[in-house]
Point group: C2
């Protein structure tokens, strides 16, 4: 399995271990979602192509190992929960593609494109349901509660983001709150669950949950930048969707808040025309893209500092590299 | 609270108790879904109008009481799980309205009509997530597993139904399998969960699960008949949606399977024209509506017979009345 993050280049031994584990996690997900109804399996097979970097499963496993520096491979519960968070993530991709009216993802057509919005809605529900079912097989109610709280938060973030579509007065605080909920909550919980399955100690849980929270917000800021600046062929999904769907992101929010006339009117006009090229140019000239990159970098630094309370280990070192990688991602 | 099933007319003491319990369950659902984000609360308040007969919460409580004839009121766990199954049901209504492009429900506009498909998708997800979270608070992993298995089954039924949209060769066996999964699974689990929270004895669980299964299939058959014959003002939601959405239901499936030419061609033409009046007339003249009613009645009888293993009690008596009521429902 050629992993987009090239884990073996970071650490040959740990990288190889993790790549094997990710293959096992993909198998577990396939077993979990297998149905006696052929149409369901066809759809799940298609969604199997949506696995990308598998960042969230990696974070469950690495957090689990980093929580106790002497743990040299993930425990079985880590594998199960890695599958669970990936399933939740896949479900959000399927439903997000409905929201974004996206036609392709990872080089293939989306479920909504191939089978319609209705099937996408139900398939997403099927994946969410399977995630909760898979989580329940662990037999630890406290993890079910944590997962449920996380997905509540994630959905709140999505609902509030929709509520602010086309809202040119969206402020930075609300943007950060939305991103924190819709993206960072699941990434943070992936880290926290990994930790608590190894060593349920508040300081360790908090450190890794905080790492995931900061990382998640940074990840979304760079994701938004890719939507604005990236090329579809590289990113592997449609770009410019934020603008097309009236979603204001950090550089635009800051530019609008700071702009006097006539710049503000020009920005409003560009946004209403959905002109990605013009928006990019204005934001770049104003330094707003660089400012967003600085914010992402600050968050990555904060994430990395949170790892200081953990013992030194190859897993912790890889968490550092993954965090740094958020700032240079092209996919 | 004026209950559409008029429980106090069936049994004044038990009816009054159940109506109070339903009020408490609505309060618990409200507490569960409350968010610190105002737009989320506005949407949940709207969905609060979708509570109808609250059949599934009633079944949790009545099954719980009928499982042990001496239990005179639901336990706290019954109330929680009654809220959980109602939340799952509300989520399916929100997502079903997207699938059916329905514009009103219970006399008010639907979420998709008021706020768009995207918000409906995410709101449904929020409700599903809250249902699993609420279930997890019980602290019993086996119930989480059962709920997860149930919603997996429910979603499979929905996916396969979508797969067969417009399929004029859909056979009765597949229709029954779809209905069994998409509708009866949750009703059956409501009964089974109610039972096992009182008395986790296989024969009792099976009896009540079987009651719910038969009842659920009968319920969907009569629901399909209402979609074909009912008046929107009475039913409280749009009718004729099955035909408009290419969903074949029991009378049509049987008529198509039995019809020789030229009747078959006439039926196909009617279905393609979405002509509800003509379809109704042909099916009524052929006796297919009555035949479907006979099937529903057989299922209701089967459901009621399953209650024979339970001790006589007011709760069991009310389960009998609820089952019989499926055959005369107008809403």
């Amino acid at each position: 399995m050629a992993h987009p993050l090239d884990l073996t280049a970071i650490d040959p031994a740990l990288g190889q271990l993790l790549e094997q584990e990710l293959e096992e996690i993909v198998r577990r997900i396939e077993t979990q979602v297998a149905s006696d109804f052929a149409p369901v399996n066809t759809l799940c097979l298609h969604v199997g192509r949506y696995h990308g970097k598998m960042l969230r499963p990696l974070l469950v496993m690495l957090s689990g190992m980093a929580a106790d520096g002497s743990l040299t491979r993930p425990r079985d519960a880590h594998r199960t929960m890695a599958g669970v968070v990936e399933l939740i993530h896949l479900a959000t991709l399927v439903h997000d593609d409905v929201l974004d009216e996206a036609t392709f993802r990872r080089g293939g057509e989306t479920v909504n494109r191939l089978h319609g919005v209705e099937t996408s809605v139900m398939l997403g529900d099927y994946l969410i349901s399977n995630a909760f079912h898979m989580c329940s097989t662990l037999g630890d109610p406290s993890i079910n509660v944590l997962l449920g709280r996380t997905t509540n938060t994630l959905c709140e973030g999505e609902v509030v983001q929709l509520h602010h579509r086309g809202d040119l007065d969206l402020d930075e605080r609300t943007y950060m709150e939305i991103v924190s909920r819709k993206t960072a909550s699941l990434i943070s919980s992936a880290c926290e669950i990994g930790a608590l399955l190894t060593r349920n100690e508040p300081a360790v849980r908090q450190a890794l949950a905080g790492y995931g929270q900061d990382l998640g917000v940074a990840f979304q800021i760079t994701d938004d930048l890719l939507d604005l600046e990236g090329q579809e062929e590289t990113v592997g999904k449609p770009v410019g969707r934020d603008l097309a769907k009236g979603k204001l992101t950090l550089p635009t929010i800051r530019a609008l808040a700071a702009a006097g006339e006539p710049l503000r009117s020009r920005l409003v006009d560009i946004i209403k025309r959905h002109d990605r090229g013009d928006l990019h140019q204005v934001l770049e000239e104003g330094g707003w893209l660089d400012a967003a990159r600085v914010t992402a970098a600050d968050l990555v630094n904060s994430a990395r500092q949170r790892l200081d309370v953990l013992p030194d280990s190859p897993a912790r070192a890889m968490l550092h590299v993954l965090a740094a990688g958020v700032l240079t991602r092209r996919v």
